[in-house]
């Protein structure tokens, strides 16, 4: 087993950490959502990677085929992608409303306005 | 009547409170309801007395709170006596309240009468509690229902004092008393009051003393030093509250709970056999002496009475802690004697305030000429505190002294004698100056006695104080049952 065997997981972990970093470090609300999206995508890879079996085919019973890939994770991730899309859509809708209410989408400026308001 | 009696007794003031708050718009109706409720309560409680004297223990389970633990009422001699004092003096106090609250044009009178009735419900609940859980439930409810009464005036200083009142009572009960109860429950599996106690054989050594400590200091209402500070703080309340609650119902609930825990949870014999419980006599003795010395230095009349109450409460605690049959009787009787005497003193203080707005001791020179009835009653109450015959205080002191002799407990003996001297030292000058000195400055508005309702009330309690010296047999018989079971 060499390091390259696990390359899928390395990439997934890098995406995961990158996404989290963006969410935490960026003050722009849209960029935060981008980070969140990257973070979620990494999870898709974690699921999909192990379900692909080298040499396996789609799980349709056919004569002469012995090795199938596992279809279940793909189905799960389809669901997860839908959830992810819905989350980002709702998040962006909120950002639009926040922009209407505050005139900015920078976190520190919003914070400053709330402080003044009190 | 047998089983339902205690439940009815509990329901009457509760219903009264509801009716009072509904009748808020019509003062006359509201006060009529108060008086009717008080009379009905005394009637029901009084009708239980012959049963208890005959050896019955009317009991009823209201509902089960947790699996295996229930809210239950059982009437036994000690609780019977407490219930009788509380309900009996409520009538007198209601008469007095009407005079006082109207005389001083107090605000929020509906809240006052309603909370008073709730407090009485709680007091009856404590008196008739059949297990420690029920007692704790009503104990806490009493704290909370008296809070609005203490904070009645509603200005900043009053609310500060009310905070002290609630803070100390709630903290001690939740942080010390509750773990004591839970610990008792864990090691015995029950919380029922049982005539010979439930802890014998379950606990030994220093843990007994520790648990006793959790109980004694957790029951902050008994005002054993150093958890006594709430009582002087509570004196910001209107005088009827100080009189009935902080001389009778609340503070007696405290010492009553301690007595009940010692007799029915620890068991007198068990505790006597445990050397680690000996500290209680010393702490009570210290409280008696220290509170009397502090009382000596007070200039405000109600605060003086408060510290005197602190000392007198520890009489009961000390008498209980002597752990001899005669002293247990003395403890029970002293609850009655002190109740009659102290309520008279507070009534008098309230009468003086209503008539002349005077609150300080130094202002009282020569006041007896303007208010002879009031000061006569005051004198009777003060003599009872000192323990001079023919007043109630003498009877109980006699039994406590006898019990101390029985136990060869010289600390208790010395404390009683010393505190008698101290009591005399702070009461007698007031009486002397009131009767024989001349007024320093004549009051701007000449005044006579307080309103009739007030005078009637304080006369009744003064007469009761005297009468108890002569007619104390029923009470003694009742409490003889308390120790009769313990050989």
């Amino acid at each position: 087993m060499n390091a390259l065997d696990l390359i899928n997981y390395w990439i997934a972990m890098m995406l995961l950490v990158t996404g989290l970093y963006i969410v935490i470090a960026r003050g722009n609300l849209v960029k935060k959502l981008v980070g969140l999206s990257i973070f979620q995508t990494s999870v898709y890879l974690i699921y999909i990677s192990p379900s692909k079996i080298i040499g396996g085919t789609a799980p349709i019973i056919a004569p002469g085929v012995e090795l199938y890939s596992n279809p279940l994770p793909h189905v799960l991730i389809l669901t997860a992608i839908v959830v992810g899309v819905a989350t980002i859509a709702l998040g962006l809708a909120l950002v639009v409303r926040i922009h209407e209410a505050y005139g900015t989408i920078e976190e520190d400026e919003i914070h400053a306005q709330d402080q003044d308001g009190e | 009547m047998n089983a339902a009696g205690p439940a009815i007794a509990l329901a009457i003031p509760a219903i009264g409170a509801l009716l009072i708050s509904l009748a808020g718009r019509w003062p006359n109706l509201r006060e009529a309801i108060t008086l009717t409720t008080a009379l009905a309560l005394l009637f029901v409680v009084g009708s239980l007395a012959p049963l208890v004297l005959a050896g019955e223990r009317p009991s009823v389970t209201l509902f089960s709170m947790l699996p295996g633990m229930s809210i239950a009422l059982t009437v036994e001699p000690l609780g019977m006596l407490f219930g009788l004092i509380a309900s009996g003096l409520w009538i007198v106090n209601s008469i007095y309240s009407i005079g006082y609250m109207r005389g001083n044009n107090e605000k929020h009178q509906t809240r006052f009468y309603a909370c008073f009735a709730i407090a009485l419900t709680c007091a009856i609940g404590i008196a008739f509690a059949g297990n420690l859980l029920t007692l704790f439930l009503f104990y806490e409810a009493l704290t909370i229902s008296t809070y609005p009464l203490v904070a009645h005036k509603g200005d900043a200083a009053t609310i500060r004092s009310a905070r002290v009142y609630l803070g100390i009572l709630l903290t001690t009960s939740i942080v010390l008393l509750l773990p004591a109860i839970i610990f008792t429950y864990i090691i015995t599996g029950t919380l029922d009051f049982t005539p010979d106690g439930i802890l014998a054989g379950k606990l030994d050594g220093p843990m007994v003393g520790l648990l006793l400590g959790l109980f004694v200091f957790g029951i902050g209402k008994a005002a054993v030093m150093p958890v006594h500070r709430w009582l002087p703080a509570a004196m910001v309340a209107p005088t009827p509250v100080s009189a009935l609650l902080h001389a009778v119902a609340v503070v007696k609930a405290g010492v009553f709970t301690i007595t009940k825990v010692i007799v029915y949870i620890f068991g007198v014999d068990f505790l006597f056999s445990q050397p680690s419980s000996g500290w209680l006599v010393y702490v009570a003795a210290f409280t008696i002496i220290a509170a009397s010395v502090v009382a000596l230095r007070q200039t405000n009349l109600k605060r003086l009475l408060a510290y005197s109450t602190v000392a007198q409460l520890s009489y009961v605690v000390m008498a209980t802690a002597v752990l001899k049959p005669l002293s247990e009787i003395g403890a029970a009787i002293h609850m009655v004697a002190h109740a009659f005497g102290k309520i008279t003193l507070f009534f008098a203080a309230g009468a003086i305030y209503t008539a002349s707005k005077k609150t300080e001791i130094t202002q009282l020179h020569g006041i007896a000429r303007r208010m002879p009835w009031t000061m006569a009653a005051f004198t009777v109450g003060a003599l009872s505190m000192i323990g001079v015959p023919p007043t109630a205080g003498f009877v109980s002191k006699w039994y406590i002294l006898a019990g101390s002799f029985q136990a060869d407990n010289y600390v208790a003996l010395f404390t009683i004698i010393a505190s008698t001297v101290l009591n005399a030292a702070y009461f007698l000058p007031i009486i002397f100056w009131a009767w024989f000195a001349k007024e320093d400055v004549p009051p701007a508005k000449p005044h006579g006695e307080a309103p009739a309702a007030i005078v009637v009330a304080l006369t009744i309690t003064a007469v009761l104080t005297l009468a108890f010296f002569f007619f104390n047999q029923p009470a003694l018989q009742l409490e003889a049952q308390l120790v009769g079971r313990q050989k």
Binding site: L90 | L137, L170, I174
Partner: protein
Amino acid sequence: MIESNLPALQVVLPLVAAPLCVLLRRGSLAWLVTWSATWATAAISIAILLRVLDAGTISYTFGGWEPPWGIEYRVDIVNAFVLVLVSVIGAIIVPYARRSVGAEIRSEQHYLFWAAYLLCLTGLLGVAITGDAFNVFVFLEISSLATYILIACGQDRRALVASYQYLIMGTIGATFIVIGIGLLYLMTGTLNLADMAQRLSTMPLHRPQLAALAFLTVGISLKLALFPLHLWLPNAYAYAPSVSTAFLSATATKVAVYLLLRFSYSVFGQSHVIENISVEAVILALSVAAIFTASLVAIFQDDVKRMFAYSSVAQIGYITLGISLANQNGLTGGIVHMFNHAVAKGAIFMLLGCVALQIGQPLMAQMAGLAKRMPMTAAGLVVGGLSLIGVPGTVGFISKWYLVVAAIEKGWWWLAALVLISSMLAAIYVWRLIEVCYFREPSPELEAAGEAPLSMLIPAWVLVIGCIYFGLDATMTAGTAASAAQSLLEATR
């Protein structure tokens, strides 16, 4: 027919009612639909609980596919209890909400609000009822997305920011949960929770199992707002519409607590993972920290809703404390406190909604003299507050009793002392409010105000009376919680 399909109807009914609300497009009709759907849901949940108490665990298979291949709904006494809690509170709030929503949300959005409310309920019930790990995630996200909407409906613009913050943190939490579930799937090859538990019990320890437990615990802790992952909660509760706050505080965090129970006891209970890592010690420390920090912060809040939001963080600490004690009484205390806190906090936030109807956002200064103008509201707040302190005769006392008994049984006197001392912190912030309500002259805002309408007061007072009733007679709640705790403990080694 209907009876055997109750577990499915439990979730399907509100799920179908939600798009119906959108189609009807009329606020009042949508409210009527919500009303019928929630009360029917509540009735179903009670029927399920009775059946579970009577006949034991119910297993429902979708489409006749046998578990572990098909999706299974599995109801034992633990989640039957949670289902009743969520759906009954969800139903009681709806009649109350008519006036409150009418005042706080623009009328053209009413039907959307009700759709979101029903979806949120669907998600919460789904999380509680399902026996499939991935289903948990899907339902969790349904409820979360609906929750973000419910919060963002608040009048104050800060509600939008609070909702956004919660969206970010909630999504991170949910994603952590998916990672945990994914790792478990990799290790066990199954998504059925019961099957997973069984396979884990025979499996030697691998590192991914540890990682799965860690991801799940952190993810769920974010959802249940365990200190220090609670940062989203105070603002979300403070600026959300009153109805949303009442509903979410009573139900959402409780369902997350259920998830924690399910994973740490039922799934990992027999595995080798739990022997090698002491999650309990960590949760215990965090719970105590939550109780003290959040109570202290609550004392200094001027916005009453925010104050009680911090109080929620502290009260959740009591629940997780009970879970971390991991003995019969501790677990009973934790589970019964889920119910007790839901009733008390639900009542408090509903009554604050009554105040909000009359004067807007309830700040401490504006609530001065509340007792004079709105006596029933103020009295209800007192009862709810006493319950938070844990005064005997209220529900809070029952929970504290079990927690202290559990701590003393373990010989942890210090913990018993900490639990009781923390009640005094609750007493301080509750009393601050009581003094303001009862001993001040009415504020200018309150001067003209009167008591809230009966349609709001009655549902709120149902919960207030529940606070007292279940405090005096807890045989039902504590009894159910005790058997739930027993069934969870039996599943562990």
